[in-house]
């Protein structure tokens, strides 16, 4: 028997690592949740959790931080997956945080609810006594994320201190915390955007229709096609046009830019991503505000 038989290809190894992390979360924490945005990364996490605990159901709820500025398709997808998996859904509502006076809407032309999510997320974590929030963050996404741990400690204000992280060696994770603190866990830390698409294709995982090329009313803003919606305030010079587009990432409908594309199958999307010369977050205006936009938000407790 050749010893070569016993090695995993890169996708199997990434899958195996992610399943290991998810099981460690379940074993080390009392009350974990999966942060579910309806985006592809959180869908992959949910798929991996299904595999990690099969034939048991996923033993923890999904948590959605709802900005109120959603793609209707995302909400439909979320509700369908909850029903299919038979797990609980916790919703943290940014609108409620605004109504309760916890946060105030941003003012100005490029106002979004992106940063407001931090308060809603931390409130939802506290009120549901969540001790570990599992996210789909990947180290290849952004330079601040390149330093994330699999098990990432948050202090009792929900803040991340990148200079004072616990060293993480081999596959031994230290999930110990004091009352009021919590963890974030990132099972797909080592995946790239390409890995995610290749995995979705291989496993034939259902994703929202928004990822596939479709006709949509859009406005050209900050180098991306922003979808027209009831939340979008048009500038005088801006014009709504219909384009065949798809989205590479899904977030708040007001800041998620689409790209022109004909890719309407998983295979075509994977091919398209392989040839991409721009990063996926390049179409996200939330990251364009400054050189350290992501780091600043992460320190405060962002996803």
């Amino acid at each position: 028997m050749s010893s070569n038989k016993y090695y995993l290809n890169y996708l199997d190894e990434l899958e195996s690592e992610a399943i290991y992390v998810l099981r460690e979360v379940w074993a080390q924490f009392q009350n974990p949740v999966i942060l579910f945005s309806g985006g592809k990364d959180s869908i992959v996490i949910t798929h991996l959790a299904k595999k990690a605990f099969y034939p048991s159901k996923i033993p923890f709820p999904l948590m959605h931080v709802d900005t109120g500025h959603n793609f209707p398709e995302t909400i439909q997808f979320r509700d369908d997956i909850i029903k299919e998996l038979g797990v609980n859904l916790i919703v943290g509502s940014v609108q409620e945080s605004i109504d309760d006076g916890r946060v105030a809407e941003e003012k100005g032309k490029n106002a979004t609810r992106n940063a407001l999510q931090i308060t809603t997320l931390l409130d939802a974590i506290e009120s549901n006594k969540v001790d570990c929030a599992i996210g789909g963050g990947r180290r290849d996404e952004e330079k601040a994320r390149a330093k994330e741990r699999f098990f990432s400690h948050r202090d009792d204000f929900g803040q991340w201190d990148p200079k004072n992280q616990r060293p993480e060696l081999w596959n031994i994770f230290n999930g110990k915390y004091f009352e009021g603190e919590h963890f974030r866990a990132f099972p797909i830390s080592n995946w790239t955007e390409m890995d995610v698409w290749n995995y979705i294709k291989r496993e034939n995982i259902a994703i929202p229709s928004l990822y596939f090329a479709h006709e949509r009313e859009v406005v050209w803003r900050q180098d991306a096609w922003i979808p027209n919606s009831e939340f979008l305030v048009l500038e005088d010079h801006e014009e709504v046009v219909t384009k065949k587009i798809r989205f590479r990432t899904l977030g708040d409908i007001t800041i998620t830019g689409g790209i022109e594309s004909d890719a309407d199958t998983l295979a075509k999307i994977a091919d398209e991503v392989a040839g991409m010369r721009q990063t996926e977050r390049g179409n996200r205006s939330d990251d364009k505000r400054s050189e350290s936009a992501m780091e600043d938000r992460k320190r405060q407790g962002y996803f």
């Binding site: 010893s3 016993y6 090695y7 995993l8 290809n9 890169y10 996708l11 199997d12 190894e13 990434l14 899958e15 195996s16 690592e17 399943i19 290991y20 099981r23 460690e24 379940w26 074993a27 299904k50 595999k51 990690a52 605990f53 099969y54 034939p55 048991s56 159901k57 180290r139 290849d140 330079k143 601040a144 390149a146 330093k147 990148p162 200079k163 992280q165 616990r166 060293p167 993480e168 060696l169 081999w170 596959n171 031994i172 230290n174 110990k176 915390y177 004091f178 080592n190 790239t192 390409m194 890995d195 290749n198 991409m276 010369r277 721009q278 990063t279 390049g282 050189e291 350290s292 780091e295």
Partner: protein, 417 residues
């Protein structure tokens, strides 16, 4: 990418002055792993800082403080893919908390790359890098003799550095060492073969990384399965199902194997191995699976399933090479939580046998203190037995960390000897 492509993890050790960031930038740039908006961003930054041309080192820029101070504070992970392999780089800083970060990055690596400035040859830092690669038992080492452009691409200079390095590495346990003369700045022998050093017959770095044999890096002999959690669905279709979930740490386990559960010593036979709804005939490292046994025995997290004819040692007294990773020094005879595979116990450092002087690599006896970045051989006593192998034989059942219960911080990492 092809379906049978493997994942290779490597560390880069060196400081900014060795051209480490430039090397990583060069690898990413020449392998076309950098996106246009990233390139645009560093072109702008290069201009803003008054650099001539594009400074490839800026690709590895990280946190705000690091950009301001021009140093790397923490291990950063980078990714790139070629048609042959997927690569993960653990980019470890050369200056601050050097040992702590390099040990962290090295713990999962297949390959350590060590940078040497061709003008300076083997220096103290090189020795430390080689020592840590050896201590962490990294299977392969690539010594990159960089800045060859500054020594006229001289073969003699290169050969001299090779023999200097071999002198120190011969005293260490490094299995596979390779040397490459390069200029990361100009791209010689990084991705593309150098036209300035036709005397070099070996491969450029990327080709070496793409083709080196790594399947044997994993221990395939000693079957070890630490149980992470127990799956008991208790639904109508799986009423009596009891699956032990975990990741194979080493070796191969097959349906029908006679197994022993450590530390209880109960024996049984593997009834089934599952991954999701798939039934597997066998599972090998590093697969995550769940295992069902023929007999109903009491097994939980912290137990280890092994083949009955090949067991690890159950021991409460272990000797480890310990790296101290925390600003607070070790407290004499204090209790720590020891984490080993999926097992947590209390432990006490009973004795410091010797410390390693990281400059001279000599053993120092009679010094019991352990502070940040210290490396020492220590004796540890645990409250209950751990099922251990030596680190040399098994990276995953031979490694431990210590957690300080008063801060919950990870304060030390250890390799069982």
């Amino acid at each position: 990418m092809l379906d049978n492509n493997q994942l290779l993890r490597f560390t880069t050790a060196g400081s900014v002055d060795d051209g480490k960031s430039t090397l990583i930038g060069r690898l990413l740039y020449d392998s076309k792993s950098i996106f246009e908006d990233q390139l645009q961003a560093i072109e702008n930054t290069s201009k803003k800082r008054g650099h001539a041309g594009v400074d490839l080192a800026l690709f590895t820029d990280g946190l705000k403080d690091e950009r301001e101070q021009g140093i790397t504070i923490d291990v950063a992970y980078r990714y790139f893919t070629t048609p042959k392999r997927k690569f993960i780089i653990a980019d470890t800083p050369g200056h601050i908390q050097y040992t702590r970060n390099m040990v962290t990055g090295a713990s999962t690596a297949n390959v350590a790359t060590i940078l040497i400035d061709a003008r300076h040859g083997v220096i103290e830092q090189t020795k430390r890098h080689a020592f840590i690669a050896s201590l962490l038992n990294i299977p392969h080492v690539i010594v990159c003799v960089n800045k060859m452009d500054l020594v006229d691409y001289s073969e003699d200079v290169f050969n001299d550095i090779v023999s200097q390095f071999e002198q120190i590495s011969s005293k260490m346990l490094i299995k596979d060492v390779r040397f490459i003369p390069m200029s990361a700045l100009n791209g010689d022998n990084v991705v593309n073969r150098s036209e300035n050093m036709t005397w070099y017959q070996g491969s450029p770095m990327l080709n070496m990384l793409e083709t080196m044999h790594i399947s044997s890096d994993v221990n395939k002999v000693d079957a070890r399965f630490p149980v992470q959690t127990v799956l008991r669905p208790q639904n109508d279709t799986h009423r009596d199902y009891r699956g032990y979930a975990g990741r194979v740490a080493s070796g191969v386990l097959r349906v029908g194997d006679e197994i022993t559960v450590m530390p209880s010593g109960f024996t049984s036979v593997i009834k089934a191995i599952n991954l999701n709804d798939q039934e597997l005939k066998e599972a090998f490292a590093p697969q995550s699976v769940s295992i069902q046994l023929e007999d109903d025995i009491d097994i939980g997290r912290g137990d280890m399933i092994v083949r009955s004819n090949n067991k690890p040692e159950a021991s409460q007294d272990i000797e480890v090479m310990l790296c101290w990773l925390n600003n607070t020094p070790a407290k004499p005879r204090a209790k720590y939580t020891i984490k080993h595979t999926s097992n947590d116990q209390k432990a006490m450092i009973k004795d410091v046998v010797y410390k390693i002087d990281i400059e001279s690599l000599n053993r120092v006896e009679g010094d019991d203190s352990l502070s940040m970045n210290d490396i020492a051989k220590v004796k540890i006593r645990t409250t209950k037995p751990l099922m251990v192998d030596t680190y040399r034989e098994n990276r995953f059942t031979g490694s431990i960390i210590l957690v300080d219960d008063s801060t919950n911080e990870t304060v030390a990492a250890g390799m069982i000897v």
